[in-house]
């Protein structure tokens, strides 16, 4: 809960007087506050720098070191002050957090040091205010990346594999880090060599060679030495296919590998060959066949496995894709406008090359990029005027905005990142608020289960309840007063939805219908008991499989010491209940905990609800007697 709220607690409690005349039940007694009420000034000495503050200021955040009783460990009796052997400069910011409720990140400090101080004083860094949050996150990410790079450079490929690594793992490592073994390095260079050979062969086979005897025309080498070239091509493709299949076999996650960019490039590189094998050699598809040969040039992209720089370039282009798209769009607009104008301007001219607007696109592009091939030239005066306007504006369109756009790219890119970060931060903040609310609710509900709300003996159950601050005591008392006013109780969403389930599904037992109202009460009562267990079990996130009685019993028994967070409260509950009832609770508790997700995912509904009543039915009929006693004792 927010710190400032602690200041308003007395007010909220005083306002509860408004409920008193309306209350249907008697109000609970308020918690006894043994501390002295008056505020006092505390002295905090941090490595010689003495700070003073009100005790109330520190009490605002009871879950930090300074706000809780943990600071008593640092109390120095002789000098009557709290002494911390920590950085005094940083402490200023920590104390300001207590005073103002906002945590600021000092820009000149090292982020690691700051985080260590926060960790020492028990403050989570997420509370950093909006003003400093971005800086903090940027620095933190930078730091993390730097550390990650360092560790990666250390570990990358140099750490030896565990001796029991499978062949698959070894292969994968050899592929990803060629420096690890000689074999991998050889393979790496061989594939690189063959990529180069394949690309060069593609290029060379179109160079005109001296014609064969008896012919005048120059032949491309590809046709002259067609056998040699096709053998070379086949060899390369075989090697690439082999490499791809080996990578596919060795990949730890085949789906991810198949979807990665590199594997797509590999596939595109070898596919034309296979398609060419499959396709028959006839006239209709020869056009497509030629297209396929073009795709062979994509083999050159396989070099990106060998070159870090290519990969970075690819990433950059990917990142700037939207800005480039916008540039393209504005160019297209300009091209269309000028092409239309030129076409209509030149329409009258005889024998004009501007035969259509799409034909004028070519002229516009050539003119705007100041290429000026001269294959299309305007003749009419209007055409020349507009043509000159086109070339002038081409300079403006292409040359001037490019630096502006380039710098805009950087700015827009960062802004987008910031917007995404903000959205992510917002989500995190909302989630945190929800969790804090849940935490408050859960704390109160847990407090109820621990039996801390019994009037009268506040002393008998102190060992059962967790150590809570005075603020929590008062807040729980306030919520309890509200419960008594309205004669309803707070529950959490899990148990609420279960009650809905049990209420909606009609229970049938062997008893007569005259007891139906009692059944209703006992159902909810028993399930409430079970729900308490389920709530606790859900907290410990144990998944139970349906089994025999023995299994459930043993599960129940073994769960007690290990998984639960509140072992003492369980024992206190047991002290009040009878042993016979444990069977019923085992069933219902264990079974209800099957579909119940942990308490922090309230949005999922119970999937197995129809099954629960059936099983509950069986268990209830056998233990109905004990449920009577349950009813009396719990109400």
């Amino acid at each position: 809960m927010a710190a400032g709220v602690a200041t308003w607690m007395p007010f909220a409690r005083a306002a509860a007087v408004g409920w008193l005349p309306l209350a249907q039940k008697t109000m609970p007694k308020p918690p006894v506050d043994k501390k002295s009420r008056s505020d006092e000034i505390l002295f905090v000495n941090v490595s010689g720098l003495r700070f003073q503050t009100w005790k109330n200021t520190l009490d605002r955040y009871p879950d930090t070191l300074l706000g809780s009783s943990e600071k008593e460990f640092f109390y120095n009796e002789e000098t009557q002050e709290y002494f911390f052997d920590r950085d005094p400069e940083m402490f200023r910011h920590i104390l300001n957090f207590f005073r103002t409720g906002k945590l600021h990140y000092p820009r000149h400090e090292c982020i690691q040091a700051f985080e260590e101080e926060l960790a020492f004083y028990g403050i989570i860094p997420e509370i950093i205010g909006d003003c400093c949050m971005e800086e903090y996150r940027d620095r933190k990410k930078e730091n993390q990346e730097r550390l990650a790079e360092d560790t990666e450079a250390e570990n990358a490929g140099d750490a030896p594999l565990p001796p029991d690594a499978t062949l698959r793992e070894r292969l994968w490592r050899a592929f990803e880090n060629p420096h690890t073994s000689t074999m991998a390095l050889v393979f790496y260079y061989v594939t690189g060599f063959f990529i180069a050979v394949s690309v060069i062969a593609n290029v060379v086979e179109t160079v005109p060679c001296r014609p064969i005897k008896g012919s005048i025309k120059d032949l491309p080498c590809g046709e002259k030495f067609s056998v040699a070239f096709s053998c070379l091509d086949t060899a390369c493709v075989l090697i690439f296919s082999f490499e791809y299949l080996m990578r596919l076999y060795a990949a730890p996650s085949r789906c991810d590998f198949a979807r990665s960019v590199m594997s797509v490039i590999d596939v595109v590189a070898i596919l034309p060959f296979y398609i060419g094998l499959v396709m028959p050699e006839n006239e209709e598809v020869s056009g497509a066949f030629v297209t396929l040969r073009v795709f062979r040039v994509f083999r050159i992209f396989k070099f990106s496995r060998h070159s870090q720089g290519l990969r970075i370039l690819g990433c950059t282009l990917q990142a700037c894709a939207s800005e480039l798209g916008f540039l393209l769009f504005s160019l297209t607009m300009a091209v269309i406008i000028f092409a239309t104008v030129m076409f209509y301007a030149e329409k009258g001219t005889k024998g004009t090359t501007f035969s259509s607007i799409p034909a004028s696109f070519w002229y516009t592009i050539v003119t705007m990029t100041t290429l000026g091939y001269g294959d299309m030239v305007p003749d009419s005066i209007a055409g020349k005027i507009f043509g000159s306007i086109c070339s002038l504006s081409g300079v403006l369109v292409i040359a001037l905005p490019v630096p502006v756009i380039v710098s805009n790219f950087a700015r827009i890119y960062h802004q987008n990142q910031r917007a995404d970060k903000m959205r992510a931060q917002q989500k995190v903040r909302q989630a945190r608020i929800r969790m804090a609310k849940k935490g408050a609710t859960n704390a109160f509900l847990q407090h109820k289960e621990d039996g801390g709300l019994q009037d009268g003996d506040g002393d008998s159950t102190p060992f059962c309840v967790k150590n809570r601050s005075a603020f929590e005591h008062q807040h729980h008392h306030l919520l309890h007063c509200l419960e008594k006013t309205t004669n309803h109780e707070f529950t959490d969403e899990v148990t609420y939805s279960e009650v809905c389930v049990t209420d909606s599904v009609g229970f049938r037992t062997s008893r007569s219908t005259s007891l139906s109202s009692q059944q209703g009460a006992t159902t909810t009562c028993c399930s409430r008991r079970a729900k308490r267990r389920a709530f606790r079990l859900a907290n410990s996130t144990v998944s139970v499989s349906r089994g025999s009685v023995q299994e459930l019993d043993t599960l129940h028994v073994t769960k007690t010491p290990a998984g639960t967070q509140y072992p003492q409260s369980r024992s206190s509950l047991n002290a009040r209940t009878e042993d016979l009832k444990l069977n019923c609770d085992d069933y219902t508790a264990a079974i209800i905990s099957i579909p119940t997700p942990p308490a922090n995912t309230p949005d999922e509904s119970l999937p197995n609800s129809p099954a629960i009543p059936g099983i509950l039915r069986n268990s209830r009929s056998s233990t109905f007697n004990t449920q009577d006693t349950v009813k009396i004792s719990s109400l």
């Binding site: 809960m1 927010a2 400032g4 709220v5 200041t7 308003w8 007395p10 007010f11 909220a12 409690r13 005083a14 306002a15 509860a16 007087v17 408004g18 409920w19 008193l20 005349p21 309306l22 209350a23 249907q24 008697t26 109000m27 007694k29 308020p30 506050d33 009420r37 008056s38 505020d39 009100w54 109330n56 005073r99 103002t100 504005s330 607009m333 300009a334 406008i337 504006s393 403006l396 369109v397 001037l400 905005p401 804090a436 408050a440 609710t441 008062q474 509200l482 419960e483 006013t485 309205t486 309803h488 109780e489 707070f490 529950t491 969403e493 148990t495 609420y496 009650v499 809905c500 409430r528």
Partner: protein, 217 residues
């Protein structure tokens, strides 16, 4: 072409920055409004708090609201934080009106502290008076069924959805009927201050619970 684009973007930016400047001006105006409370001695006379308590209260109050005034939205936010499960805004609205004695839309420190003094240190009659004032929404001296129903609904709203047993729609009106049965002596459909105080003084539970919050501060 590029010039056109640049001109368009400049225009858009100018249009964006203009309302910002206006907003900044209005923000400046608001933040100048401040309130300083009356002197410590005067407040000591008006309330039953000691000097130290007043000092402590004011420090907390000033820390939360540096301008010295609490407006209704802030009040609702603060009060809602105590009841995370339900919706406390309606009840906070009624509370705000009960505290804001001069009905100017904001609570000053004096209102705050005088209200607290009545609730924590006042006599039982004074507390009952305060409660009556809270329930009487239009401050006409009578609590009608509609007013009580509104109050009751707002209280039940604070419980939220997840309660056991779950709150039925008729629960508030049933509660109101019970209240009127108890309080409305002459069955005229309204509860006056005299009926209210008389009935409460006869009810032991209510009288005992009035002592509950004595030691809050």
């Amino acid at each position: 072409m590029g010039a056109v684009m640049a001109a368009l973007s400049l225009e858009a930016r100018r249009r964006l920055s203009r309302p910002n400047r206006e907003k900044v001006d209005s923000d400046l105006e608001l933040s100048i409004v401040r309130h300083q409370p009356e002197g410590l001695d005067q407040l000591q006379v008006q309330t039953k708090f000691t000097k130290k308590e007043l000092q402590s209260l004011y420090r907390g109050f000033k820390n939360e609201c540096p301008s010295g005034l609490v407006d209704e939205e802030t009040f609702k936010t603060i009060y809602s934080q105590f009841f995370p499960q339900g919706d406390a805004t309606t009840y906070a609205h009624f509370l705000f009106n009960a505290f804001d004695m001069d009905r100017n839309g904001s609570i000053r420190f004096e209102d705050f502290v005088i209200g607290l003094s009545v609730l924590l240190r006042g006599s039982v009659t004074e507390k009952l008076n305060w409660a009556f004032n809270l329930y009487d929404i239009n401050k006409d001296g009578y609590i009608t069924k509609e007013e009580m129903l509104a109050i009751m609904k707002s209280i039940y709203d604070m419980m939220g959805r997840y309660t056991y047993p779950s709150v039925r729609d008729e629960a508030p009106s049933e509660h109101v009927d019970k209240f009127f049965q108890k309080m409305d002596r002459n069955r005229d459909g309204v509860v006056t201050i005299e009926e209210f105080i008389e009935t409460c003084q006869k009810d032991e539970n209510i009288m005992n619970s009035m002592q509950l919050f004595e030691n809050v501060l």
